[in-house]
Each structure stands twice: as structure tokens, then as C-alpha cells.
Symmetry: C2
Subunit: 204 residues, 2 copies
């Protein structure tokens, strides 16, 4: 890239940034703040990891954070050790032992999903909690283990100061419609294809 090309890119980006700042200023005059419904979906990596990052950032701001894991074991010892440092600032609920979405026992799966959703509702009712991560909720919705309409209604009815992050592949269109911020993580290239196995500290 030549100097003048670099200057052109910089100029374009500066103009884009200026526009973004103006847009944000306009926005700030109409809405000061709002508890966001954030969705991380797509087949790529990083959906739960980015949610974990958001939870940690919120903890760093002194917020109380709730986490419900709708699939057992998606977060491992690395996450556990970090979250434990924050003591009662974190409320963490995982699905019952043995729940793996492969029981072939639909009634049991539905009951487990309902218990997890019950924990989510309790957190939503706790005025001290400012951010809730519903990890892999999209899977429970995809299998119709929870009534989609009820879940969407509860998410929409969240307190004005409560942010909720929902993760998992195949987010329902109704959830995307209700969300404020949706990011799709797309896999461009994966090392498993090159013969490298999952490793502690990176994959789990």
C-alpha cells in the first residue's frame, strides 16, 4: 500500500468514525441507556467466550452477574476458577448432572430446560443483577424444550437496567427480532481440519 492509499483509507475511516460519533450523539439525545438483549449465534467459535468476556467486564465494573448454562460442561474449570474470584458477585447455575441433550428422553430434557429457565427468571427478578448470560439457550429453543413465545415475552419484559446475553447456534428469528445486538460468529478456518485436537486452556 502506498502512502496516498493509506491516507485515503484513513480519511474514509475518519469520516465514517465522525458519522458514527454524530449518530451516537443523535442517539444519546433520544435514549440515554437501555438494558440490551444481545445474541451471539452462528456456527463459529467465540459465542460463549465473548459472553464470558462480557460477564467479566461487567464484574470488573462491580456489577452482579448471573449465568445460566443450558448445556452442561460448556464452561470448564478455567471459567470456574476465574468466576470464583468474584465470590457472591456471580450467581452461576448449571444444568443438573448427567444432562447432555442425548438422553432420548424428551420429558426429562424438557424438565431440565424448564428448571434452568426457572433459574433465569429468578435472576431476572433480582434487582441487584445487571447482566445475565443465558448460555446455549438457543439450543433449548431450537428443540422446543421451552415455549418460545413465553421466553421472548420474558426477555422483552426485562428491567430497563438489565442486560441479557443469549448464546447458541441457530438463534430463532423471533429472538433476533427482539434483540438489540446480534452477532454471528462464522468459522473461516479451523485447526481440527489440520489435525490438531482440542486443548485445555483454548477449547475448554
Amino acid at each position: 500500500m502506498t502512502q496516498s492509499e493509506a491516507d485515503k483509507i484513513r480519511h474514509r475511516e475518519k469520516m465514517a468514525k465522525r458519522k458514527a460519533v454524530q449518530d451516537a450523539e443523535v442517539a444519546s439525545k433520544t435514549v440515554t441507556s437501555k438494558g440490551l438483549l444481545i445474541v451471539h449465534t452462528g456456527a463459529g467459535k467465540g459465542k460463549s467466550t465473548a459472553a464470558f468476556g462480557l460477564a467479566l467486564r461487567a464484574l470488573g465494573h462491580g456489577w452482579k452477574v448471573g449465568i445460566v448454562q443450558f448445556i452442561k460442561g460448556a464452561w470448564g474449570t478455567g471459567e470456574r476458577n476465574v468466576l470464583e474470584k468474584f465470590g457472591e458477585q456471580v450467581v452461576w447455575r448449571t444444568m443438573g448432572e448427567g444432562f447432555t441433550w442425548e438422553t432420548q428422553d424428551r420429558a426429562r430434557d424438557v424438565a431440565a430446560a424448564e428448571r434452568a429457565w426457572g433459574e433465569a427468571l429468578k435472576m431476572m427478578a433480582d434487582p441487584g443483577i445487571r447482566l445475565i448470560v443465558l448460555d446455549e439457550l438457543n439450543i433449548a429453543l431450537r428443540y422446543d424444550y421451552l415455549p418460545l413465545g413465553d421466553v421472548i415475552a420474558a426477555l422483552k419484559a426485562r428491567r430497563a437496567d438489565l442486560h441479557i446475553v443469549v448464546t447458541g447456534r441457530n438463534a430463532k428469528p423471533e429472538l433476533i427480532e427482539a434483540a438489540d445486538l446480534v452477532t454471528e460468529m462464522t468459522l473461516v478456518k479451523h485447526h481440527f481440519a489440520a489435525g490438531v485436537k482440542a486443548q485445555e486452556g483454548i477449547e475448554f
Copy 2:
């Protein structure tokens, strides 16, 4: 969705999972482990947040982690407060004060990028560090502030037990080629468009 449709989806996913497990087993026989070069790119949210999440998970495993921020201020007080809990387990270097990529002084920008890259090289030479995050390095590469060939060569020559995460939009094709795992974060929907401004704890 009917019961039988749900069963079909579950069966397909079970088969896909079984295949993935088999693939992983094959992979584990050929390569036991490898320090990964991971890239988070795309115009969506979550690139730096997922890198932050990876860093925290690694810290949770007791690893020493290095972080170099190629753009000032991308990580804020939330991240800072969390990382401080890990004391000397984290080596964190940010660009010099006032460095904003808008100086219109290319020589100064290049010098700042080179200093940051020098910090990255020092971390890569520290055998105690197991994971390094090079936050927004892609921006420095995009502006040709650093020699791409040298950077790629150094990343490729990393120790076998060192994982490196590079973030930023517009990852260079040469970097994607060299990487083991590349995720593109794509913006599906953004609340700024709906008149909600950036908020502490979520955006910064």
C-alpha cells in the same frame, strides 16, 4: 416443531457429533497439541471481547498471559479491574498515551506500532507465557505500519506451546493463511441504529 422433527434434528446432530468425535480421535493420533494462531476478524462485535474471554480462561488455568493493545483504549476499566486480580500472571502493554491512529503523522504512528510489536516479540521470547493477545494488530498491518512478512514469520515461528490471538477488522489474507483458527464476527443487528448509545459495562 413436532416430536418427530425434533427427533430428526437430534439424530442428525448426534451423527454430526459422532463424526466430530471420530475426527478429533483421528486428529489426536497425528498431533497431540500445538500452540494455535487464532484470528478474530470481521466488522461485528465480540472480537476483542472473545479474546479477553480466552485470556481469562487461560488465567483460570493458571497460565501466564501477555496482552498487547495496538490501539489505545480498546480495553477499559472493566477489563483492567479484572486483569489486576491476576497480578503478575498478566503482562499488559498498551500503546503510549495519545496514540489514536489519527495523528496524521505517519512516522510517529509507525514508531508507536513498532514499539508495541517489540513488546509482542519480548512476550513471545518469554517461555513462561502461554497465551498472547495482540489486540487490533490487524489495524497496524492494514496501514502497513509494520512489515507484514516479518510479522507473519515471527507468528509462525512461535514456540510449540504458545497460543497467539490476533484481533481486528480486515485481517490480511497472509495472516488467515498462517492461522489455525479464524472466526469472522458479523454484525446482524445493532442497537445504535435503534437509538441506544454506547454504555459502560457493555461497550466499554
